[in-house]
Amino acid sequence: MKDYSVFDVVGPNMIGPSSSHTAGAARLGRMAAKIAGDNVKKVRFLLHGSFAETYKGHGTDKALVGGILGFSPEDDRIKTSFDIANERGVEFEFIPIDLGDDKHPNTVKIVMNTEDGRTVEVMGASIGGGNIKVTEINGLEIEFTGAYPTLIVKQWDVPGAAAHITNCVAKNNINIAFMSIYREQRGNEAFTIIEADDHIDTNVIKDIKANDKLIQDAFIIEGF
């Protein structure tokens, strides 16, 4: 059993009406945009389960779009996120869909087209109390929550990549709480996800990306 912080009990601070359907949705949108590199031009939300059934009444749609625009769950611009997206020229669409019985009832698959012409897919679930987990990036099954400062590295599945990453992490004095490596196929692209106890300094990104033979991309998820 967990020792709950007072802010787990009195919190989160959030735009209503539902921590799972609104606050969690905003977090998922923001997380997806961050993973895509924060330059989303067009986005499709594939809504599963309870998200598909009740997204309008809970403002899940506005919260997801707000998240894509970078709004936190307590940003009151969520309420008018459709208008702001239109002003910024961000296209959005909602599609209720069945993603399968094994998926959490509050699951969304977010398919984004970026300004630089990439397509990025992020799937995640809102698991209660405004907490989320990301379960898939570009079809690759992964798992992290964003509750800890998180370092995500997209690397090539080649010898030395993990050693390079952990060296950079050690050099920047980051204590690893959890670390996982995911890949789909041998020799193809892979993800390393490192969750740390404390703030992750952006210097580590520079160090990791310095080796472009091993590393494709690296970024930090913090403050979710």
């Binding site: 912080s5 007072v6 787990d8 009990v9 009195v10 989160p12 009406p17 009151d76 109390g129």
Partner: protein, 291 residues
């Protein structure tokens, strides 16, 4: 300074001659490694959000997303301003208006603090802020009261549940009301023992309450359940401050509440398939909202 149930919390308070909020703040410092100042500043921000939500509900026009509620908090305040025949008295009427108002802000996509959930977000601020205003207490008193309440909420979350989907409304608004009761007791000079008895009484008073939101939305009957929640909290606080104790200890009440929650059929746990959600009117409103 950690505690896992009411008994341990009271033992810590009595051993160190400290209030519940003091124990709770020290536990938070140990748990998170943050400084007291950081923790207090963060809670100050939450208190400001709570105050603003109450104010917004009685000064602005509010309509919920589903269209079922909005403007009721204002109606209660308007009657209070124009009558000398309040049935509940000034403080209680103001408190129920505040609880309903914060829920209205939540349902209209306004900013609130989940306490412990969004569906029960009106009860803790309504209880603590209304009583503090009535008796000229300070922001520091209110902050401390929130920590007293948070200690109770942490115990219920740990040993039972505060989710309507798991334990029904008794778990959700019940926990919020128990938190508010404990906070008000300590804020009014009551002892930790009295605060814990107030929390126990509050939970007993609504044991078995089902979660049956119309159309599955956090609007009705949630808004009025927040009103009854704060009333329950204030009644229980009044009893405890007078020395009236719960016959069954807090920890046993929490356990009983959890057991009752688990025996509630699925239809009565936030699925909108039972209770008032499944009435003829409830079903018609659902069709109207979702088409």
């Amino acid at each position: 300074m950690n505690f896992t149930n009411g008994k341990e919390l009271l033992e810590l308070c009595e051993k160190h001659n400290k209030t519940i909020y003091e124990v709770c703040i020290e536990r938070e410092i140990e748990l998170t490694g943050k400084t007291r100042e950081e923790i207090m500043d963060r809670m100050k921000h939450s208190l400001e959000i709570m105050k603003k939500a109450i104010k917004k509900s009685i000064t602005e026009d509010i309509k919920s997303v589903g269209g079922l509620i909005g403007g009721e908090a204002k109606k209660i305040r308007n009657r209070l301003a124009t009558t000398n025949k309040s049935v509940c008295g000034y403080l209680m009427s103001k408190a129920i208006s505040a609880a309903m108002g914060v829920l209205e802000v939540n349902a209209s996509m306004g900013l609130i603090v989940a306490a412990p959930t969004a569906g029960s977000c009106g009860i803790l601020p309504a209880g603590i802020i209304t009583v503090a205003e009535e008796y000229g207490l300070t922001d520091e008193d209110m902050l401390n009261a929130i920590f007293s309440g948070a200690a109770i909420g942490a115990i219920i979350t740990r040993n039972a549940t505060v989710a309507g989907a798991e334990g029904g409304c008794q778990a959700e608004t019940g926990a919020a009301a128990a938190m508010a009761a404990a906070g008000v007791v300590e804020m009014m000079g009551g002892t930790p023992r009295q605060a814990i008895h107030a929390a126990a009484t509050t939970l007993k008073n609504i044991m078995g309450l089902v979660c049956d939101p119309i159309a599955g939305l956090v609007e009705a009957p949630c808004q009025k359940r927040n009103a009854i929640g704060v009333a329950n909290a204030l009644i229980s606080a009044e009893m405890a401050l007078a020395g009236v104790e719960s016959i069954v200890p807090f920890d046993e009440v929490v356990e009983a509440m959890y057991k009752v929650g688990k025996t509630l059929p699925m239809e009565l746990r936030e699925t909108a398939l039972g209770g008032v959600a499944a009435t003829c009117t409830g079903c018609n409103l659902t069709k109207k909202i979702f088409g």
